[in-house]
Amino acid sequence: MNNQRSFFFNVDWVTVFIYLALCIIGWFNIHAAVYDERHPSIIDFETNYGKQFMFMIVALVVGIVILLLESRLITALAPTFYGVSVFLLMLVLVIGRNVGGNQAWISLGGGFRLQPSEFAKFATCLLLARYLSGPSVKVTEFRSFLIAAAIIGFPMVLILLQPDMGSTLVFYSLIFVLYREGLSPYTLIVSALFIALFLASILYNHFYVIAVISTIALLIIILFRKNRRLVVTMLTGLAICIAFIFSVKFIYNHVLQPHQKVRIDIVLGITSDLRGKGYNVNQSKIAIGSGKFWGKGYLHGTQTKYSFVPAQSTDFIFCTIGEEWGFAGSMVVLGLYLFLVLRIIFIAERQRSPFTRIYGYGVASVIFFHVAINIATAIGLAPVIGIPLPFISYGGSSLLSFTIFLFVLLKLDSNRMGIV
């Protein structure tokens, strides 16, 4: 059993350790968030913290099973996974259960339910890696880029139909993968520019915004007027920007749903309805802000214990960390996440196989996007889009899909010396 020895020998134990640490932090904070005096034990299956413990065991078993699989099987099954995910995403639109306005869940019976969009992230990354690692595929070529974009875009459209805006946006984070594989850096810059323009034109009169960008563009054109190509590019870009600014008003008023508009308004400080729409974020900020440096201590968070923050064990779990463990605890958690994604990038870069590398970047991007948006939401820097904090938020689908996501990478990595 030479093979057997080599897996566990090559598994990246640092990542596993961070993974376990985050899971346990999550478990304890769920315990604090939904603490119930009648069920004080942390492994009481009547309660969400008891259930989370069960999910953790299941996730760990699934993780070990993945480590025991053949790497080649994973690569080979990529299109199948993708197909199944797309099928489930279609199925959920038909037979799904509507929870909180999103038709995102398929009932499995026994109180458990599945969220196909969680698994779609994994399947999409896998297929994207499979496609981009092909010998004749180069992202720099337009055709390849289109196919890659289609692989990402198809599940996005299906999820948008649920409509789960949060999970849809998660797929956008895969732009980092494409960038790493050669996509022009301008895509990142243009993305950032468009986000900035979007926010600016909501915040300010769009004629002012147009005036400002036109001035900047004209200055650049005057400075580099000898470079004909640049002038043309700038003028084209300016035209596109102006068109975008006008479309923002339309998107904002007609495409976005009212609750999404309000959430954006609240982050931008346009409205502050502290008892209605802004209640969650305001209470979340109060919870985190009142933690001070050392926090109020485990099970002593008043905001947490007396349920001032809704969705506190799921999307707003970070409140509990901020309140009970303070800035110190928040730093530890953010540090662990940063360490985890940097470690994943490190793992990705040490691969000989482009497949594993691309997949690794996918894992890093998706996890990071989740962390950044979730925490930014909790402290009022991003609108509420409702995505969980990886490994920490309560929920079986979320924990299981992130575990599969990560352990597939660990499996592929443990096999890095082999040829895939």
């Binding site: 349920s307 940097l342 890093a364």
Partner: protein, 664 residues
Amino acid sequence: MNSFFERRYVIAGIFITIIIILLSRLFYIQIIDDRYALYANNNVRRQVIQYPARGPILDRNGKILVQNEPFYDIMVIPKQVKPFDTAEFCKLLGIDKAGFDKRWIKAIKYSPSLASVFEKQIPAENYASLQERLSEFTGFYSSTRYLRAYPDSVAAQFLGFIGEVTDRDIKRSGEYYRPGDYIGVSGVEKSYETVLRGQRGVQNLMVDSRNKPKGHYANGLYDTAAVAGQRLTSSLDINIQKLGEKLMQNKVGSIVAIEPSTGEILCYVSSPTYDPNLLVGRQRGNNAANLYQNPYDPFLIRPIQARYPPGSSFKPLSALIALQEGVITPSTTYYCPGYYWAGNRKIPCNNLEAHGLVNLSIAVAKSCNGYFSMVFQKILDRDGAKQTEATFTNWRANVNKFGLGTKLGLDMSGEGRGNVPTPLHYDNIYKQGRWRSSTIISLAIGQGELLATPLQMANLECTIANRGYYYKPHLIKAIGTQNIIRKEYTERNYVGIDSQYFEPVINGMQAVVEDGTAIRSRIPGIVMCGKTGTAQNPHGDSHSVFVAFAPRDNPKIAIAVVVENSGEGAHWAAPIASFIVEKYLKGSISTRESGITPEYFMNANKLPDISKYKGKLSPADSLKKLKQDSLLLKQKGLKSASKKSKKDTTTSFLATHTIRKKDE
């Protein structure tokens, strides 16, 4: 192979930058900005005021005059209120939509973030059903309060009542009171407010997002317990108080009885009275308005606020001063032909009855106007007519020593002075030096400008009973479990008359009851010394006055009874006084030789004619005025309105009591 390798650093850089942005923001809201800690605190901490039970008031034998019953106030913190079913809520509280809006606006006006009273005084039986549902209405909660309850419904004017604090009360107390608090408005409730109110407690509770209490903040470290108000033991005897109130039914007037050896007030009846329970609870406003519309003014505290000419009951005092001044001796005699000439003024005796040769005791017993007019002139004219002003000033000072014309310092506010006219008063009417003893002769028989409160009359009897001194009359014997008697209550106040001069006067007073004007009121087995009075006044029939003390030796009770506009002292006031004295001394009332029974007096209706009673106002005018006053009452609260009415009554007395007429 591994192209774009360097881009890993760009991606890692973006990740690190975003994490740093998040950490900076966290640093800002967790460490730099203190507001959130405060908000979190405000979210969960709820200060609940613990209202102490107000001290009960007992009678001298420990029987309860007033105690407390729990009621529930519904409180609201407008900021915490979440949308709810208003109709359902109104139904639970038993109010309508308009009433809800009114209360809601009032609460917001007071403060959106502080608790204020939404609905007051829900009785325990109605609260039970409300309590179950109250948690559904976030922002509303209940607070227990104790309201006054009067098991025997007696001594309304003595006990007084409590009411909501006014803005002025709050300011004057240095913000001790809060809007919606209760404060003693009149009577003992007012004068002993600081003792009765106790000390408020504060509970710092933790509540969850649905405002449900979850325990004490910091394990109750900052909580303070409410300290109940102290128990007051009054000097009142509930048995004779009840009897007195019954005897005075359907009459206007007052009874004051004092224990001469202590100055403790035993009986304090002001009639008409009212059931003090009417001024408690949610119907308080309506009841108060109705009571205020009563033309006989139940809110007037007649024992200290009504002023009557003492009439003949003043004569013993006149005699005592003359004896002390040495102008007469007990054996000085006077021949009464049925009238007396003072200058060119004829003072008739009662029904022009000629008393013949009378000495001091007989004059007292027969209430001979001539004798006392003679005595009065002797005092004032002893240094010649030119010195009248000086001798009158001296006489007046002697009268003041008995407590007439001054406040006695009772432990209840609103006490009147009565009136003993000053020389200046006569100077203003007749010009200086133009008045003589004959001009003011009606003072000799307790008429004229002379006015006394029933308390002053009773105190005068205490002084006679004690043969020369009185203790300051007071209403409260003990505070809490300790008999805290103020030092001033143990000091004898001498009136400047040697004790030897009292016996002849007391002999006469004994004769009044034994075989004089009050013979019908004789009590079997008790020697009562008294004096009737029939005080002439412009409101109709004379006021029936009787003052007395009993027994003659080692007196236990001194009493003054006034029944307004009912006729002669002997007919109404004296029998009523005798029943009270007997009930107090023997515990029961025996059959009288004269055949008078308490039941007869209880059932008799001697209410004065309203048109005459309210003086100059025509019926239509008075109705209008009452309406205005009751409006005023609703606006400004009971307190100011009742004060106003008191003033009205006393000024009308002053204006009309200058008519001088003969006495018995």
